[in-house]
């Protein structure tokens, strides 16, 4: 729809010619004020998580009078099952999802971008069409299907669809990228007698690491943050992911332990935050080129 080349995001901004220092200062002042307003709630939460308990709601200031990590201890062991378990579960689901998405989507994308087969355009159109279908339509029959397979309360309903390339969005992203790789490369390899598998593995995969990484990072973050899927498919608390764990904590301690709740909330954001820190540039390019959401 909107065709924004990868370079657009990192291209140098237009030169700021002929603007007075006053105007420039005003813009900075406005931006700084807006930035503070934007991240204030997040900083406040982090700060609330390290305050002594009686001080959490007494001030709007960001600096705690003293650091008290008691909230983290209480939060971690606040439920029958420790948050370590939830973290581990989230990690398992997220990592498997990343593998599934990257492998299955890149295979499908390779077929759409490079292989000639009957009805390729037809299937490609269908694939794009699935992007438009809201998940609500397939939700109930999928649930019934997984229930009949005996998969409810396991991670299979959350993971297996990913290995079947159910996130068409990533396929689309990869097709766009693969198309930018010079055809001469795989045509030459084909002449030399390389099989499509070999071309995929030796040429496409190494050359498309940026797009594969983008897909992997977004897969991880979305799965880590996913609440709806686990809510529907996981019942046993031993299987809970971090998001369900947090929700249980809210329900069981809504009036008592705010410090513990903020401490665990903060911890749940840490992996996402670090991904953001390290892959900022990649994430922003991914967003800008594709309109990726969240």
């Amino acid at each position: 729809m909107t065709d924004i080349p990868m370079t657009a995001v990192t291209a140098p901004p237009p030169p700021s010619t002929g603007r007075s220092p006053v105007a420039s200062a005003l813009i900075h002042a406005a931006l700084i004020a807006a930035s503070i307003a934007m991240i204030y709630p997040l900083l406040w939460m982090v700060s609330a998580s390290v305050r002594p308990e009686d001080e959490i709601f007494s001030s709007t200031s960001l600096l705690p009078s003293s650091i008290d990590l008691g909230s983290y201890v209480r939060g971690w062991f606040g439920l029958d099952i420790s948050f370590g378990r939830f973290f581990w579960n989230s990690l398992v689901v997220s990592v498997l999802t990343v593998i599934g998405n990257v492998v299955a989507c890149s295979l499908a994308a390779y077929a759409f971008a490079r292989l000639r087969f009957k009805g390729r355009n037809f299937w490609f159109a269908i694939m794009l069409g699935t992007l438009m279908i809201p998940y609500h339509v397939t939700l109930i029959p999928q649930y019934v299907l997984f229930l009949n397979l005996g998969w409810v309360d396991t991670y299979l309903p959350l993971i297996v669809p990913k290995f079947l390339a159910s996130d068409a969005f990533f396929i689309f992203l990869m097709v766009q990228f693969f198309r930018g790789i010079p055809r001469e490369l795989d045509e030459a390899a084909m002449m030399d007698g390389c099989s499509p598998w070999r071309i995929y593995w030796k040429i496409m995969v190494p050359l498309s690491l940026p797009v594969l990484a983008t897909a992997a990072i977004f897969s991880f973050i979305w799965t880590w943050d996913d609440f709806f899927g686990p809510l529907i498919y996981l019942n046993d608390m031993n299987n809970y992911t971090i998001q369900l764990g947090l929700r249980t904590f809210v329900d069981s301690s809504s009036t008592s332990d705010w410090g513990g709740l903020f401490a665990m909330s903060t911890l749940s954001l840490v992996p996402v935050f670090f991904f953001f820190l390290f892959f900022q540039r990649l994430l922003i390019e991914g967003i800008a080129t594709t309109g990726m959401k969240r």
């Binding site: 909107t2 934007m38 991240i39 109930i140 609440f227 800008a288």
Partner: protein, 282 residues
């Protein structure tokens, strides 16, 4: 061969379930007994005898109509401010984008619930100015606005798309306009806005579809009830309650199809009107 996983997924997880769901929407399926054909009964009940459907629809439409324009306006405003070769662009961009990235998680919804509680941070801040705020999330007149505010706060990803779009506008157009004596405001109105319409359109469609699907914030903030008095009963939350709370799977399937039709109408409407206001250079 390469397409095999996707094909299995498509037939097994998308096309098959979609057809089954359409069938179920004409039945009284409750997950335990096998579905029994009831014709249009579900749809008739939705249209005529379900006050919760009406409530959910009105909440969701309010949310879409309020959150999307504000979100896009903020995103565009900040993108324009950032697109002027200022120092510290990367830092600003990161700060503005961070809430979008964390957005869907339970932690953020929990935080929001606390911010807008009766004794929460927002009211503490207001009281500094001598204003006594209501208990936002537990008052049916205000609760929806806290959710709109949460959505608007996450304007980061449309902002980044706007930034990329702004970089596509050739600077010499502005230079020429300045020479002709066009004011900054006029330049924005005559150059930036028209050239940006494809990006605005794209953002509007994506954000609208997304707003229709919102779930987690409403679920966490209302404790899964959609209360007080259905004021945060998002459509998806109602669908969830019917399907997995009351096990009215047939009824929920009908609700799902109505949502699809509504989203499709919205999207089609945007595409139809777009030819009058979206300019593609050709």
């Amino acid at each position: 061969m390469f397409l095999l996983p996707w094909l299995i997924g498509f037939f097994g997880l998308t096309l098959g379930p979609a057809l089954v769901s359409l069938y179920l929407s004409f039945t009284n399926f409750d997950l335990i007994q096998s579905p029994e054909w009831t014709g249009m009964a579900n749809y008739v009940r939705i249209a005529t005898a379900d006050p919760k459907f009406a409530a959910a629809m009105s909440v969701t439409l309010t949310y879409v109509v309020l959150s999307v324009p504000f979100k896009l306006a903020f995103a565009l405003l900040v993108a324009i401010a950032l697109n002027r070769g200022i120092n510290g662009l990367t830092l600003y961009r990161a700060i503005f984008y961070l809430p979008s990235l964390l957005g869907g998680s339970v932690a953020i919804a929990v935080l929001w619930r606390q911010l807008f509680a009766g004794d929460g941070l927002v009211n503490a801040a207001l009281s500094q100015f001598g204003i006594e705020g209501p208990s936002w999330i537990s008052h049916p007149n205000y609760s929806i606005y806290t959710l709109v505010a949460l959505s608007v706060w996450q304007f980061g990803s449309p902002m980044i798309i706007f930034l990329a779009g702004l970089r596509q506008i050739p600077t010499d157009m502005y230079e020429a306009a300045s020479l002709d004596g066009a004011s900054k405001f006029r330049q924005f109105y005559k150059i930036t806005l028209p050239l940006l319409t494809p990006v605005i359109f794209f953002n509007a469609v994506v954000q609208t579809i997304d707003a229709f699907k919102a779930f987690t914030p409403a679920f966490i903030i209302s404790g899964g009830t959609g209360g007080p008095i259905n004021s945060t009963l998002f459509y998806t939350l109602y669908l969830y309650q019917e399907a997995f709370g009351n096990f009215r799977m047939g009824y929920a399937s009908a609700l799902a199809w109505i949502l699809v039709v509504i989203i499709a109408i919205f999207t089609a409407f945007s595409f139809l009107t777009s030819r009058y206001w979206v300019h593609y250079d050709d």
